[in-house]
Every structure is written in C-alpha cells, then in structure tokens.
Chain length 559, copies 2
C-alpha cells in the first residue's frame, strides 16, 4: 500500500507537471458500412467511427496508441501528421519508409511525444487507405499557465475531406492498369465526416443511397451569440483543394500547422490537403437564424457539389436549414486569391523562429506528369518514386543493400531548356526507389517548381507535406524559379513554419528546413493518387545516430 | 563443361525417371477488373487470369510456385487442395494453420511433390479471398508407361464456381456485423470462369454490366464426333451445391478426388464445393448441332440462373447456341438422388486401398447453426472455431503457448437429448481456437452429423474437406447416427477415398483416416462463409517428428 501510494504520488507530481502525462488510447481499425454522404459504402473505421476518435493532449504529453488491426486480410499503418517524432522516427507510421505494415490481428503500439502545441492530424499511410476513412484530429494545448497570443471562448475542430464511392481497391486497380483509369472527381465533400450525395443521380444502384439516413445529416456547429470560437480546420482531402467559408462571418487566421500566424482576416479560407489552420470567428450576426458553412473545390473544374454544414446559433434548432442560398464560393480557376493567401501567411510577431540565413544544399524539384509504360505517373525531376517493400529506416540502419536503388534522384532539372508552360516534348520518365541523403544538422532548401501536365494549358495545385520537420516557407512565385534572382527575395525575416504547403499552378514555392531529426522522412504531394503514382521523395539524415530500432516495426521485405 | 554435361545427364536420367521433374511456376496475384458474367468487378487474378494458370504435372514431380503478392495492401496464401503435402506440411497454404499470410511485395515459394495422379485444385485460403477469383486446377498424370483403367481420346478440365458482385470485404463486413448480413445467393454460376448475369436486372448501377463483353462469352468445349473425353470437373463454389449435366449425353464417373471410382453412369453429376470428378463422355449424338452444358444450384432454393456452357461438336461454330432450351436440371430440394450418388461412389476393383478394420478414436461432429453475441455462426458440437493469428503449426512446434486455446473441443454432443430435426432449444454456442490432437499413426473415425439450422424445417448440405489426408468414406445415413448400430453397416470392403465429402440435410456421413502425416491440418466446411463463421476444426498429429520449419512461413502473431 505504501508502494502504491508512492507510485500514485510520483505519477501525480512528477509525470504530469514535469514530463507530461501519458495519454493511452486503444483503437481498433475495422471495415464497416457507413453512409457519410447518404451513399452506403465500406469505410475503415477506428472504434466504429470515421473520422476516428480525436487525440486531445497537452504539450509534452506522451501519446500511446495501441492499434489493433481487425481488417481481416489487409494491413494498416497510421501516420501522425505534423508530429515531428523527435527521437521516435520509427513511430512516424509511414509504411515502406519507417515501418512494416501492421498485420491483421496484430496490435501495434505507437508511442510518441507531442512536443509542440497546435492542430495536427492522423491518417492511414499505407496504399490509399486514408481515403477509406481512417483519419482524425490531434489537438495539443499549451501547458497549464501558458496562454496563446489570442483569446477565444470555445475551441472546436473540424476536418474537411472529399469522398469517393469507389473502393480504394477499385481506384488503385484503375491507377495501376493499362489503359490508365483516373479516379475522377469525388462524389461529395465531407465536413467533419458528413456530406450529401444526391440520391436521385441517375444510374445509382438501387438500395445504396438513402437521403433520409441520419448518418448524412449535415454537421452542425452550435454557437452562442457574441461568443468567439477558435475553429481548428484540417483538410485531409484525397484530391481537392478547398475554399471554406461561413456565410456572413469573417475569419481571422491565427494558426497554421501548429505555428502562430500574424493575424489576417479572410472571408474564405483556402486549404489544401494536409494543412491545418486555426481561425477565430465571432458569432456576431443576426442570432435568430442559422448560417451555411460551405466547402467548395477550387483549382479543378469539378462538378462535385459544395460540402455544406450548419453554423447554428443557439437556441435555433441545430438542423434547421438557413433561409439563404449557400454562398457559391470563389471561381475554381482564379489562382490569384489563393496565391495571395499563401503569401499573407507570416509568422506572428513575438513567435518567430528565425530561419538560418543561408543553406547548405538546394534541391529544385520539377513537378511533372508523365507517361511510364503506358501509365500516367507523377515525377520529380523526371523520376517517379516507388516505395520499396523493405522500409528505408530499417534498410539503412541495418545496411540491407538491394532494398532500394542506391543512386539518389537528381537535385535539379534541365533549367535552361525545360518549358514549364507546355506539355513536355518527351513525357517519359523513369521510376526509382532512390533517396536524398542529407548531412545531419545541415540546412536544405527545396524549391518546388510546378509545370504543365500532359494536358495542354493545365497545371495543378500540389500540397507538399514533409514528415519529421517543420520548414520555413521562404517564398512563392509565378513562372519558372530563377535560381540567381529569386532567392534574393526570400522572406528571411518572419517566414511561417509549416509542414504542408501548396505549389500553385505554373508557380514555385521555396522552403528551407534543418536536417536535424535523425531518421528517414517522406516528402510528398498529399493528394492520395499523386503520391501513389510517384509524386514523392525520401530524405535521410543522421541514421547513424539512432540506437536499435523497435522490433515491432519489422517483419516485411528483407527485415 | 564436363561438369555441366554430367549435370544435364543426371537431370535427364535420374530426376525425370526416378524422382520426377521439377515444374517451376512464377505467379503474380493482383487485383484486376474482370467481367466473367458481364458485370465488371475487381477480381484477384493470377498472371492476369481467373481461373489462374493450370498446373499440369506427372506423379512424383516437384511443383515450385513462386507466388508474388501484388495486392498492394492485402496479404494472400494459396492452398493446394487435395495434395497431401507429405513431408511439407508447411506448404499446405492455409493461413492461420500452416503459415503466416504473404505480405504485399513478398514472393513466397511453395515447393511440394504431387505424389498421386488425379484431379486437384488450388485456391486462396485466407479470409474469403477464394471467392475473389484466386483459384485454378491441378492435373497430375500417371508416370510414363503406366495407364489408367479406362480409356479416352482427350483430357479436359473445367472448374465450376458461383460468383458474387459484392466484394469479399463487403461480404465479410456483413457476416461480422450486428445485425448479421447474409451474403445471399450468388449472382451467377461460372463454368470455367464464364457466366452470364442478366444486365437488364433492375437496379444495377449504370455502366457496370455489358452483355456484349467478350469476357462473358460462354465457355465452349469443342469435341469431335464419336470421340471420348475425360472431363475433369472441379467445384470451387463459394456456397452452392451443383448439378452438372450435358444435354443428351450420359456421363460415366471414373475418378473422385484423385481415386478411381467403380464406374457408374449418370445423366447429371452432383458436385459439392471442394470435390473433383473425372467423367467419361462420348460425343455420340447428332453432330450437326451444339448442346448445352448446364450447372444448376441444388439443396438451396436459389433464384440464381443456371450456369451454361456450350458442348460444341466440331465443325459447328463454337459460339453457336444449341437449338434447344437448356435442361432445367433436377429439383433443388430432392435429396434422394444426391444421397444415392454419394452412396454409389465406391473404390474401383483392383484399385482398392483397404481401410483399417477398426479405429482408435471416434469423433462425432454435430453441425449446427448458432447465434453468438448477436451474430450467426456455425459450430461443431456447440463450439464455433476461430482461427488464431499465430499459425498452429508454428505455435505447436515452438511451444508458443497462449497462441490458442489449450482445451480441445468435445468429441461428441448430447446424443440422447439433442433433436436434430428441430431448431435447438438453446441456439447459443461458444467460440474457441482449440484443436484435436491425434496420436501419430492412429486411426480416427469422424461422423459428421447434420441437424436443423436456426430456421425451422431447414437443414443444409455441407461439403467437408480434410487437408493433408485422404479419408475412407465408410457410409452415409439419414437421421441421427446411432453409435452402436450404424458402424455395423460401414463399408469396409471397397470404400472410396476422398478429401471432400458432403453431409446431406438431416443426415450423417462417416469417415475414417489414418493420422499418419505429421503436421497440423484443417478439416472444414468448404462453403466460404461457413468456414469463416466457425465451421471447421483442426487436427494435429506427429508434430514432434517435424524438423525445423521454413522461416518463410513466419512473421505474424507470436512468431
């Protein structure tokens, strides 16, 4: 009893206050029929839900997730998006990079520290399972006694996604087959897991769509008049760039990917897959009615209906439709306001992490769409990335040569002769499993260079996400990046730090990061089908600093 | 050069004649869109085909199948159905019993000897993947110079299956969910991978069904007038018992599951999932036209259209429809002719393997349908079997206790008080991973006792398949097996040996086998959803005689 009392005391005084609490979650991933947009399909749920349970923690807490795979014949892995995994690179959850997939029946224990406050996400990182519904939110608050540089009355989280009726398997079969079958536009946009597909659409199989299913009741965010809400918005779309707005209400952007933003006001927030934002919104409009929250696809000419939710002023009924037509949202092909928002996001005064003023290495990454052996693929500097079956982390640590291509991908492309405004003369590319290796504690610049796709007069938006690090966003530009002139205009004063950033059509985005986190890290376009068809690279740094790897991440390929 | 010449000579003279040839196959399992019955769905193919490539070998040959798993996120395992795997129990291909599942990207090498001539099958044995299309045929011929006790001009193989439009995942989700969702009747019957679904069926999603797709052209078996054909027929139905016939032609049954049958003539052949038969058929009818081959569902009141193929008399066009209405087939609920056929199958004179006249152990297995925690399950003696995630073979060999339930399932049921003709008073049952352990080289009798399901006045047909052994079929009976009287009527003179046998509605089937093959072996109902919901048991014998297990079968559960 004395021992027990002592243990309790230790837990209470030592662990919570000094080292952070331990937050223990028991999760089960499973296939279940769900109708998030009224159309019944199999989804991967966590504990019966999609989105899955939220992780709510405090800075410095240790998160333990015991994940049981109950998918029967399919493996799984979960990535903790935005968590840098300092000291735990093996728990990043990226199949093929940091771990073997988790087998059916197995329980894998993820254990990591949430070392920064902010808004983060989690999602499957294996095949294209994310789009099957395995995702959720992570909210990390400041330690007791510390406060944010802005005030609000309530804190709420929502995740935006797009939703397909075809299964992951069907989509993958199309993307891998000859002729190539593109996944197409999503069937609906989900706001916090709720959307609405038109069940009267011709050609729908009988019995699958039910407009009165309570599962597809629009998400309703209840607010009290004159109160201010911190709304944490994350996007985990499969494909779509979105514009999010709440009818008649301005939004003040205060956080991006866990970093404080010098506040600015927008009517609509552009958000790309993998990004998170906190906005402040005051319920300062006529409280006798509800208002539409709307998510519209931009950057693609999509026929998908806007996603709708209800911004509900208490005590109006939360499901009472607003009396107005939902806002139409911005034009899909107007790049200017999107670029303007990207540029507007700066680090907040007093919370600036100054970037290194110079870098040790500069990699220019030309983003192109290509044809390889009859398939459509995406490439970086004409190399389309394939994931190996032996995770890089294990292969590098234990010198499992042959696990991947030893030659690194190129640091640039034919700057002088490549016309980013035209379809490439030669749309072929090669595939590789090769990686970029960086010296530990060096500074690396990445310039993402967009270009024309294989369709004339078309360039897409790609949201790039870096694992294991936040990077500084040094600048955005239009056209071809000039390696001599453009770096002179880099923002080295108050650049925002992020983990996901868009490269706009025909434009470039410049990033800088410190290669200071020993491990192996993916950097990829967060569009599910783009990463699947080659749009990613791998960075390694300081592998020699790592102790022995947990056995639980092994069991596949050469391991 | 001398060494090479010597090696070639050894191969030529020693291996082929004395030890059998090595037959080396390289297979890739993959998801691809197929329209075997005109309806497009994802199927698991082997080298692009479903049914997959046939294995054609000679008695004593060594089969090597290098199976590459290209299913992206899903594992796989293939069972060699009817091959006893003497000395290679680890290559039986039964996930959870003899091996861990094969991970995506991995290549697993199966290596085994086909030690008996005859007609066998292969199929996935993991989750419910068999029904996704991963199956094919194995034909083992006699050694050169030996001949069968019957003659024919040509040798042909066909496999019968039933086919669902819902994915394996959708079916499994229904079977595992509360409320329980039954998979229902199949959408079509496939003869050698070809069937025909009515694309005009109301409620079908637009664009998925195309009646003019050449993939669903009926299978056509071309024959020459007055020639005799050995037709090897296997059934790998998911659910259905079938009656197969060729309009206007008698069939002489000569082989069952690799054993010669005392010939008998039938108009239609009843065949259950997991069985194979060779029939002789002479093309002795009017050669100016084609004839229908037809497969009809029996034992269930199914609305599934009969499967049709064309028995094509050369030189008529192979796709020319016969001028007649296809034969309707027997009544679905007439058990008598099915029982009569079962009883008619005896071992051929001169080829009888005499059974042991007594047995060392007798296990009566009551087959019941039950409810467990709100789900519908199947049980043996009120125990519904669950597969563990650590394969039994590995757990037993390396004493991995906790891998499965240590208590064995019961050897019988409450004979005196159980009414097999009624729904059980208590339909509950328990689940277990426990197994039956037999002493090596003992003789075991199994009596499969059928009963009423949870629906009044309903008893189904269950085809039971034993891995690693052939058993003698000692008898069939109606009603409740009498442990005192019925064994006196066992056929101990010329019982057929088989690996799969039906137990008819409200009837019993008695088997005897020698527990002489060290390893761990599944014995289960071959209906995919029945095994999945508990209708199986596991036998172990002589595990102590096995040397070390191949590493390739490990990597899951506690291994």
């Amino acid at each position: 009893m004395n021992f027990l009392a002592c243990f309790v005391l230790i837990c209470f005084f030592t662990v919570p206050l000094v080292e952070g609490r331990v937050r223990h979650y028991k999760w089960e991933a499973k296939y279940e029929f769900k109708s998030p947009d009224c159309y019944k399909k199999l989804a991967i749920t966590v504990n019966g839900k999609t989105p899955g349970p939220s992780i709510v923690a405090q800075q410095g807490d240790t998160i333990i997730v015991e994940l049981k795979n109950s998918l029967l014949t399919e493996n799984v892995a979960i990535h903790w998006h935005g968590i840098r995994q300092i000291g735990t690179p093996w728990f990043d959850g990226t199949e093929g990079v940091t771990q073997c997939p988790i087998l059916p029946g197995d329980t894998f224990v993820y254990k990591f520290i949430v070392d920064r406050p902010g808004t983060y996400l989690y999602h499957a990182h294996y095949g294209m399972q994310r789009e099957a519904g395995l995702y959720g939110s992570i909210r990390v608050s400041l330690p007791e006694g510390e406060s944010e540089p802005f005030s609000y009355d309530y804190d709420r989280s929502i995740i935006l996604t797009d939703w397909y009726h075809a299964s992951t398997y069907e989509q993958v079969a199309g993307l891998s087959s000859i002729p190539f079958v593109w996944v197409g536009e999503p069937q609906s946009i989900l706001i916090q897991g709720k959307g609405r597909f038109n069940c009267s659409t011709p050609g729908i199989q009988a019995g699958l769509c039910n407009a009165t299913n309570p599962e597809c009741t629009p998400y309703s965010l209840t607010v009290i008049h004159q109160k201010t809400y911190r709304l944490r918005i994350g996007s985990l779309t499969v494909l779509s760039a979105l514009s999010f707005e709440i009818e008649g209400h301005n939004m003040t952007v205060v956080e991006a990917d866990g970093h404080y933003v010098e506040p600015f006001v927008v009517k609509n927030l552009f958000i790309y897959s993998g990004e998170t934002y906190s906005i402040l919104i005051t319920a300062d409009q006529d409280p006798s009615r509800n208002y539409w929250a709307s998510a519209k696809i931009v950057s693609r000419n999509s026929n998908t209906t806007n996603g709708l939710a209800i911004f509900n002023y208490y005590p109006n009924h939360p499901r009472r439709y607003p009396p107005t037509v939902p806002p139409p949202g911005p034009r899909w092909n107007d790049t200017e306001p999107r670029l303007a928002q990207s540029i507007a996001i700066k680090s907040r005064q007093g919370y600036i992490h100054p970037p290194p003023q110079t870098s040790d290495r500069e990699i220019v990454m030309l983003n192109t769409q290509n044809r390889i052996n009859g398939n459509v693929r995406w490439s970086i500097n004409n190399v389309s990335h394939n994931l190996p079956y032996t995770p890089y982390l294990i292969a590098l640590k234990y010198n499992l040569t042959h696990a991947f291509d030893p030659s690194p991908p190129p640091d640039g492309y034919d700057f002088a002769n490549y016309d980013i405004y035209s379809v490439a003369k030669n749309v072929n590319a090669t595939t590789s499993t090769g990686i970029y290796r960086n010296k530990l504690n060096t500074t690396v610049d990445i310039i993402l260079q967009n270009a024309n796709t294989i369709i004339p007069n078309n360039s897409e938006t790609h949201p790039w996400h870096l694992h294991g690090h936040d990077f500084w966003v040094l600048g955005y530009g239009k056209g071809k990046f000039d390696i001599t002139k453009d770096p002179k205009n880099y923002n080295l004063v108050n650049p925002i730090m992020k983990n996901t950033v868009p490269v706009h059509p025909y434009g470039w985005t410049a990033l800088r990061f410190r290669a200071d986190n020993p491990g192996v890290w993916a950097f990829h376009c967060h569009i599910e089908s783009h990463f699947f068809t080659g749009m990613g690279v791998i960075f390694e740094e300081g592998i020699e600093k790592l102790g022995s790897l947990p056995k639980s991440i092994m069991g596949c390929g050469d391991t």
